[in-house]
């Protein structure tokens, strides 16, 4: 009896100490979190704007781009299985370009997230990879920051191409009989990005008018 009492006491005491440590370090983490929150949000926004400026020149639109948003439900044409967003750039109220989130499910290591800007003429203004897990030093050249060719990054070849300039049948990497370059030994990453960009461009051109006409903040396609 006495031994059981001691065991219970010991476990209670140990558990209490564990609890104190948990509280102490959770509090330390929570404190750091609240302390760093504003700085982190500011730098995340700056990072997002930097990426947007790379695909869409900052002077080409004058509206609050991130505020003029449409939410997308699952959209297979963009590879979005869980939905995403489209931002609409306007200048003096006139439609300028669509900023579209897209995904390629067939990367070498899982999904590759993209953002691309398509202007009203159906011209790709720019494409960037926003998140990927491709092999470092091999497939990660799809991200211009990791691309060893700094003057002409691989992903730059899509910029300026109009939808009617390249036939959908040859909107592929050269290895698959298409027109776009890919680095030897790492075709899979390039193929995924190339195909996703082509699909997203065709989708943007097909839905251009409906997208610009939709009400800000609404969800497409309309939910039943």
């Amino acid at each position: 009896m006495n031994a059981r009492y001691t065991a219970a006491r010991t476990s209670l005491r140990t558990a209490a100490i564990m609890l104190v440590f948990s509280l102490l370090f959770t509090a330390a983490m929570a404190f750091t979190y609240t302390l760093t929150r504003p700085a982190i949000e500011a730098s995340e926004l700056a990072e997002k704007m930097r990426l947007i400026n790379e695909v869409l020149p900052a002077g080409s639109y004058d509206n609050d781009l991130l505020g003029d948003v449409l939410h997308l439900g699952p959209t297979p044409e963009l590879g979005l299985s869980r939905g995403g967003a489209v931002y609409r750039a306007r200048r003096n109220g006139e439609a300028v370009a669509l900023l579209i989130e897209a995904e390629a499910a067939d990367g070498y290591a899982g999904r590759i997230q993209l953002v691309l800007a398509v202007d009203t003429d159906g011209r790709v203004s720019g494409v960037r990879v926003t998140a990927h897990k491709e092999t470092p030093g091999l497939g990660d050249y799809i991200d211009p920051q990791k691309d060893r060719n700094k003057e002409r990054p691989w992903i730059g070849q899509f910029a300026g191409i109009t939808h009617d300039q390249v036939d959908p049948a040859v909107w592929k990497v050269k290895r698959d009989g298409g027109v776009f370059d890919a680095r030897a030994g790492a075709t899979i990453s390039a193929r995924a990005v190339t195909n996703a960009t082509g699909r997203a461009l065709r989708w943007a051109v097909a839905h251009r008018d409906a997208l610009f006409a939709a009400e800000t903040g609404s969800t497409l396609p309309p939910q039943e």
Binding site: F21, F25, G137, G185
Partner: protein
Amino acid sequence: MDMQKFRDNAWNGLWKQNPGLVQLLGLCPILAISTSMVNAVSLGLATILVMAVANLAVASLRNFIPYEIRIPVFILIIAALVTMVDLAFNAYFHSLYLVLGIFIPLIVTNCIVLARVEAYAAKNDPLSSTLDGVMMGIGLVWVLAVLGGLRELLGSGTLFAGIDMIIPSLSAVQVFGDDYPGFLIAILPPGAFFVFGLMIAAFNWLNQRSAARQRAQPQAVAQDKPGEEQPAVA
């Protein structure tokens, strides 16, 4: 803390008990991120910071941690510290965070941090524990630098690729020329094991050679004895 202890800490971390080559702890991040020298050294530097802070925290709190729940408490401390380092990097060194960010949470899974906390910081004073963390960290960094450098050189023929993300004015060195075809396997995971295995072999060869030299000079062995009686940790 006297000079002898300082030298033992440094010697253990940098060579004798090297966390990469001898203790073989933390292989998962070592092999995963050593595809280039810049990646490898970046993770190593973040690990130094975490190891120093974790050792300091545990050594300071060691008298309050009951023996039977020491492991959960150590893990709690390490995870909390890594989270705080991660948040602080994200907030105040954002450009560095973009490079290191994905690696910092990996440090939690690095066994070497828990191993040093358990083997050293739990039994020693805060000052020498911090030093042990730093020295073990530096020991890991030089192994990572050599491994990352060799794999990058063999795999893509460059050195310091990606340095411009940390120091914008610098750029990568194309060692083998633009037409180097690349030796793919060095960058892929199996290449990490091959290169790392060769490094351990070279390390053991160097150690055996110096041991053989000492056997050839018996009086030198006698002089070195006190140093070798230091507690061999791990």
